[in-house]
Each structure stands twice: as C-alpha cells, then as structure tokens.
C-alpha cells in the first residue's frame, strides 16, 4: 500500500492510496460548506442531477448507457452532515483497465466524473427542465418516504431536538416546502455558488498511481478551494432532559435517549459507547435484551463530530419506561466503575478488527482518509489503535459520570 498527499494549485487537497490487490478504482470529490450557508434542497437536487447527465451525455439514458458499457462504472452523488458542515460528494467507482482488455479509451471514467461537475448539461444557462423535474420528484418522494424506515425516522425527527437551535438540527434535504420551491435556474445558480465557495478535497483509492496526473489535470477545472471549519462542533448541553413523544401507527414502539458531554474525548467516548451497546457482549445487549428480554435491539453509538452519545431501542409500548430505566442502570454501572476486563478487551478487539480491516476495499481507504481529513488528524489505523489502547477504565468511568442527559424521543405505537 502506498499513500500520497498533494495540494493542487487551486488549493485542492488530493489524497491517494494505491494497492495492487485491488481490481477497482474509486475517486470521491467532496465539496463542503457550513450548513447554515447552504440551501440544502437545491444542492440535493443539483447533486443528483449532475450525476445523471453531462454536457456530453445529455440524457439519463445516454450516461447510463455509457456507464454500463464501462462494465458498470458507477457515478454517484451523496449529501451528508458532519458537525455543523454540509458535505456533497460526487464519486465514481470503476473496474481498472488491467481487467478490461478491450478498453478503447483511457480515463473515460475520470473524465465523466469531472465533467459532471464542470460541464453539466444545461439548456439556456440552466438545468434541463425535464431531467430536473425527475430529480426533484425523487427528492420529494424521498422526503415523504422518510417514515418508511422507522428506526431512521426516529433519528431524523429527534435530531431536530437533540441539536436544537444548532445548524445540525436543520434537515439534510430541507423540508417539502423547500424542495417544491426549487427550480432549474435556482438549483444551477445555487450549485455554482456552492462549489465556488466550498472546501474541496479529492480522495482516490485504486490499483496504482497511473491516474494521478490525469486527476491533477482534470482538477484544474475545479474552482479554488476555500478553507472551512466546523467539522467538529460539540453540541450544547441542556439544563434538563428534553422529552418528546410522537404517536405512530406501528406494532413496535421505539425510543432514543441521547447524552452529551462538555468538550471532546473521542477515544474514551467511543470505547464507552461500545462497552455500553456496541457488541453482543455489551451491557445493553446482555442486560436489556438477553436478561430482561425487553427488546431485539438496544444499541449505542457516539457521534464524534457533535460529541453526542445516542442510545436507541425498539420495545413494546408498555415497556418503554422499564427499558429506559434498564438503560440508565447500565450507564450507572459504568459510572460506578463496573467495567470488567472482558468488556474492555471485547470493546478494544472490536476496534482492532475494524482498524485492521481498513484497506480491504477501496471504499474503506477513502472512508478512512476522508474521515482523517475532516477530523483534521491524518493518522494511520495503527496510530489510532495506540490512542485507544491508552484509554483506561477509570477514564471511561469518569466521562460516563460527566454525561448530561439530553433528549428522550419516543415514537409510541398507536
């Protein structure tokens, strides 16, 4: 494996990992900006639009056809939040030419990727109306379909309260009214403004470095990258637990319990989350599920970028309070220092497993490096493991003691 980092002339940071065992290549271009400066519905539709057609392949079927012929090259877009930052990612994954003997033209996939951003399909200076309307419909349908996955719905609804009055509380895609108001002209103008005022990073993982120069050349057509901050924005503490309840027509109730802490302690908090509810030997799994049979899942995760601990659970309606109490008891166990050697070892092994698996796929390399970049800490997985290994049980108990109950959001079945 070889890693290389370079800053292009337009201040774009380029990260490259190559590994001969791969058969595919992956190139991700991230544009990031502070959430409250972004019209998210416009960007959601624009990003979907530009990954569906280009100036050269000026219809969905034309681009799709081309990608099919490139052995299923996959051009995609995604939007996400991290801390108080909004991220738009346009990427492409494709089979390396080593495995396609009859490939006629070099670098077609990378050209398509960069063209999607710099040469979108326009009609009279704006997005094509027909394709635009299809993408707008996709977004409106996605917003309506938020309720389909109940667990995901719980996270979406509760975010508004967990990060109350913070940029992170804003819905990722905007709401239905915002989405309906977007038009081909506004979306294109907002898209141009967005990419011209974003921080831009390129992450490439692949078989070898033969594509480096091509990427550097193509990247010249991208705007100048601006530096932004806000990737790590601890969420404000509340003075008391905020409780919200919503009724939903389901068989099973669900709830989410969040905690916050002053400051950031990434490694200690991550270990706390795993010991509490990150594995089948965690406290929540063994006690709330196995011993008390209250649930099928009761999981815990740590949102590092917002310094927020989240526990979620699916239970029978009449057991909501019982399950909440059972969870709180397990948090108390940790505060009281009741962390066994086995629990500590198991949590560490879970991290070791994940860390050592980085590099088994091009996707895992890009995820790792991009995460490092946005955390402003480029380290190897081995260096990360050392930091985890330095954490003690006492430190974990201490941060557990500093946890402040934040939000209790319930989706109660009708």
């Amino acid at each position: 494996m070889k890693y290389k980092e370079k800053i292009f002339k337009n201040n774009i940071k380029y990260h490259e990992v190559t590994d001969e065992k791969f058969k595919t290549n992956l190139c991700d271009i991230y544009f990031t900006r502070k959430i409250n400066e972004v019209k998210t519905s416009d960007i959601a539709i624009a990003s979907d639009y530009i990954s569906s057609c280009t100036e050269k392949y000026n219809s969905i079927s034309a681009l799709n056809s081309k990608l099919n012929m490139l052995y299923g090259a996959n051009l995609y877009s995604s939007i996400s939040k991290r801390g108080d930052v909004f991220l738009m990612n346009i990427g492409i994954s494709f089979i390396d030419e080593k495995f396609i003997p009859e490939k006629s033209q070099k670098n077609e996939e990378l050209n398509i990727l960069f063209d999607s951003i710099t040469k979108p399909f326009l009609v009279d200076g704006e997005f094509d109306k027909n394709i635009f309307e299809l993408k707008k419909k996709d977004l409106l349908d996605d917003i309506k379909a938020d309720i389909n996955d109940k667990r995901r719905y719980l996270f979406l609804k509760s975010s508004k309260y967990i990060y109350k009055d913070e940029p992170a509380s804003l819905p990722l895609y905007g709401n239905e009214e915002d989405a309906k108001a977007v038009n081909p002209k506004s979306a294109y103008e907002i898209f141009c403004d967005f990419i011209n005022n974003s921080e831009i990073n390129i992450f490439y993982s692949g078989v070898n470095d033969k594509n480096s120069e091509v990427i550097e050349e193509l990247a010249k057509n991208l705007p100048e990258s601006k530096k932004i901050d806000g990737y790590i924005s601890p969420s404000g503490l509340k003075s008391e637990l905020l409780t919200k309840k919503e009724t939903i027509h389901t068989n099973q109730s669900k709830f989410l319990l969040s905690y916050k802490i002053n400051g950031i302690d990434r490694y200690t908090m991550s270990l706390l989350a795993i010991i509490l509810g990150g594995t089948p030997t965690s406290k929540l799994f063994l006690n709330v599920r196995e011993k008390q049979s209250l649930c099928y899942y009761c999981a815990c995760s740590y949102v590092y970028s917002k310094s927020t601990l989240i526990i979620d659970c699916g239970v029978e309606k009449e057991n909501i309070e019982k399950a909440k109490k059972a969870i709180e008891e397990q948090v108390d166990e940790i505060i009281n220092g009741n962390i066994s050697d086995t629990e500590m070892f198991s949590a560490m092994q879970s991290i070791v497993n994940s860390a050592k698996a980085i590099g088994d796929t091009v996707r895992s390399y890009n995820s790792w490096i991009s995460s490092c970049e946005f955390n402003n800490e480029i380290i190897t997985p081995e260096e990360m493991l050392e930091k985890y290994q330095a954490v003690t049980k006492e430190q974990i108990s201490k941060v557990a003691n500093d946890l402040v109950p934040d939000t209790f959001y319930v989706l109660e079945s009708e």
Partner: protein
C-alpha cells in the same frame, strides 16, 4: 480418502479449493492473500420452508411450528458453560447468523485469530443446549424482532406478494413465524429440528480471506463431528401452477405507495442456476434506465429512481420481481406487463443486452475483490451444491436469444401479481 479439488474461474482466474469430508460436509475455501480480513460461514440446508420433515429413524413426517428454524438459530448461540459471543469476544471476531427460506448460516469476520474463531464456530454450532427457561426467555426477544419486521413496509409488500403467488408453498410463511406460532416452540421440538438438519452431511463450511486452505481443512476434519447421514428429507405440498390472486393492498405508514410485481415461474431444479443468471440479466434490462420502460414511466411521473428488480429462488420456487414506489402502481403494473408482452414478440435490443451483460460482468469482477462477497457467494453455492463460479460460467456465454427464450417460455404474465402497500392517507390513487 476424499480428493482436494482446485476449481478455477476460467474467465477471471479466481480459485476455490473444494474438499468433501468423509462425514459429508462440503468445504470451500478461497485464499485471498494481501487482505486483512477473513470470513468463515458454517451453514445448513435448513430454513423456514422445512416445516415438515423426517429422517431415516422417523416413521412418519412431523410438522413443526412456523419460525422454528429462526428460533433455533437464536438459541444455538447459548451454551451450558459459555455463550458463543463471550467466546468470540476473546478472539476478537465479529459474529452473527441469519435464517432464510432454505438455509441457516452462522458466520464471523476477523482480522486476527481466525483459526481460534473457527474452532469456536465449529464447536458451538454442533453443541445445542436448550432448556425450558432459555427457550421461554427468547419469546420476548423474537417477539420484538417479529414486530420490528412487521413494521417494515418493504418486508410487508414482499410477503404479501408471496401470499398472492403461492397457495401452499411454505415460502409464503414469515421466516420468524408469528408471535402465536413461536409460543408453541419448546426444547423438545428444537432438539428434534436440530438433530434432523444439523447433520454434517447436510452442512457446508465456506471460508475466504487471508487463510490457508490446508489448515482450514485440518480444522474441519478435527472439529466436525463424525455422524452418520440421517438422510433427512422435507415434504413440500404440491403447489399449483396458478397464482392465488392478481392483486393485493395493505395499509401501513409509508410515504408514497410501494409495490412489488412478481412472476411465478416453473423452473426445473436442474436448470435453476442457469435461469437465475438469465433472469437477473432479463430483469436488470427491463428496469434499466436506458430502457424505454423506465423512460416512459418516469416521464409520466409514475416511478422514481427506486424502480428496480430482484429475484428469489429456491427448491420449488422461482420469482423474479420488479419493485418501486408510485402514486399509481396499477398503471405501472399495466405498463410492465405490456412491455414484457411486446418483448416476448420482438425480442430484446441486442445493444442493450450487451450493455447489461457488461455491467453484470463488471459486478462479478468487483465482487471477486471483496472478502465479504466472496465468502457469501461460496456458502450459497455450497448449500445449493453448485460450482462456485457458476455465475461466470453462464454469464460470459450468455446471448440475447437466451434472454428472449426465457421471457417467452418462462414468464407468463397471467401468473403475475401486484402487491401494494400504501398509507391510508393515500386513499384513492390518481
């Protein structure tokens, strides 16, 4: 003495070692040097459809409650001394299991201590331990799992489709059963099912990653118990060729209505593998964004980007299906049927076929580079007693005429059904 075979994918150069133990267990291993992870699956040919069976020592067939295969999977992780997860916690492996219609698989993934974890896997799966107390405890947990899946509209629309299509086949039964059916499960029944289906001759070990095939085989030889083949057979009701109903609707909390359009196909078991590859290409073509059907429906606002396909098949069932979201699923259904009938007359476009074939080949190449995908494909091929590279073997040789023949001879639009899940607020569609 069994012979070790090396099976090579003549198109991609990938290799799999195959070895059959004297006790009958099939062992498949793909060495992937340079990767950090390794995965092992230990699976049995037993799933939710096997609810009526007998072994060589039974006088008659016995029928068991729905959901028992899944219940058994949950309980197998517990042991008299130490649960499987506690043991894996010491080796660092991340473990899980799943039950499907015709198989149950136990697996783990790790970056260290692969062989210690392999010993755990082979041990706990072969050491059932059920008591009245532990069986009773699981009722609440699986009850919540059932309720969770019952709240999933995608699950509901799919099982509604199965109930539209199948009269008697147990494939229409929910894999986890119902809260009522699992209440009938006791330790005696669990032992009966275990002893019938978890026989070495009915099981497969499949491993992929940074491993050595000889060492894996030596562990299999050492830890897989010596047990005579009990010749378990399942009885399945005779399923009529017709479908039950052409359409169904269910009400749930969803955004816009979701739908499945499924086709009941009559496929001989001997040719099922080949038809799976053909059906995959045929339905990928039908739902592709380059194809007229997608363009036409999208322009009419009848579908969105979630318009897709899948198929599922097993011994005695073969159902390709098209899925999506629409404000008017009936109109989509009508258009899909019309298009299939048209292609049955005219045949598929050769250029589009070539595109889809290339795309599928690309997917195979990508998957062959991912440890999880390689291991998953190995266990599935092993349980179905197929060449591990059957997909490549059929795909690379596929012609447009194969698709045309499949659509003409195996897809009968009279045996299709539409299932819809919608929100009560959707009310009258259109």
């Amino acid at each position: 003495m069994a012979e070790l075979k090396l099976i090579e994918n003549k198109y991609t150069g990938d290799k799999t070692y195959y070895y059959k133990l004297d006790v009958g267990t099939d062992v498949l291993i793909a060495e992937m040097p340079g990767f950090s992870s390794s995965i092992a699956y230990f699976g049995t040919r037993y799933g939710s459809v096997n609810n009526k069976f007998k072994t060589i020592s039974d006088d008659d067939f016995i029928e068991v409650p729905e959901g028992i295969a899944h219940y058994l999977e949950h309980k197998l992780f517990e042991n008299e001394d130490c649960g499987a997860f506690e043991r894996y916690a010491k080796t660092g492996a991340s473990a899980n299991a799943y039950t499907s219609f015709d198989r149950t698989c136990y697996y783990y993934k790790c970056t260290d201590n692969f062989y210690d974890s392999l010993e755990i896997l082979l041990d706990f799966v072969q050491k059932p331990y059920f008591t009245d107390e532990t069986v009773a405890k699981e009722q609440g947990i699986i009850g919540q799992e059932i309720k969770m899946t019952n709240d999933d509209p995608e699950w509901r629309v799919f099982f509604d489709l199965l109930r539209n299509i199948f009269y008697k086949s147990p494939v229409k039964i929910d894999i986890a059963g119902t809260v009522e059916s699992i209440a009938k499960i006791n330790k005696e029944l669990l032992y009966k099912c275990y002893n019938s289906f978890y026989n070495p001759g009915n099981m497969v070990l499949a491993c992929a990653g940074n491993i050595d095939h000889e060492k894996v085989i030596s562990y299999a030889e050492k830890y897989i118990r010596n047990e005579k083949d009990n010749k378990v057979i399942s009885e399945f009701p005779v399923e009529p060729k017709e479908i039950v109903r052409k359409r169904s609707e269910s009400i749930m909390e969803v955004g816009i209505p979701i739908f499945n359009i499924g086709f009941k196909c009559d496929i001989d078991e001997k040719t099922r593998a080949r038809y799976e590859v053909i059906a995959d290409i045929a339905f990928q073509l039908l739902t592709d964004k380059s194809f007229e059907l997608y363009k036409d429906l999208a322009e009419k606002d009848l579908i969105n980007s979630n318009f897709s396909y899948e198929f599922f098949s097993g011994h005695g069932y073969f159902v390709p299906l098209i899925s999506g979201e629409s404000i008017d699923p009936d109109a989509v259904n009508e258009a899909v049927i019309a298009e299939i009938k048209k292609i049955q007359d005219t045949g598929v476009d050769e250029n589009l076929f070539e595109e889809i074939k290339r795309c599928a080949i690309g997917s195979l190449i990508k998957d062959s580079n991912i440890v999880d995908s390689v291991a998953s494909k190995l266990i599935l091929a092993g349980l179905d007693k197929r060449d591990p590279y059957y997909e490549s073997n059929y795909l690379y040789e596929l012609k447009a005429e194969d698709i045309n023949k499949f659509l003409r001879e195996k897809i009968d639009c009279e045996k299709s059904s539409l299932s819809i899940v919608k929100n009560k607020r959707n009310g009258d569609l259109a």
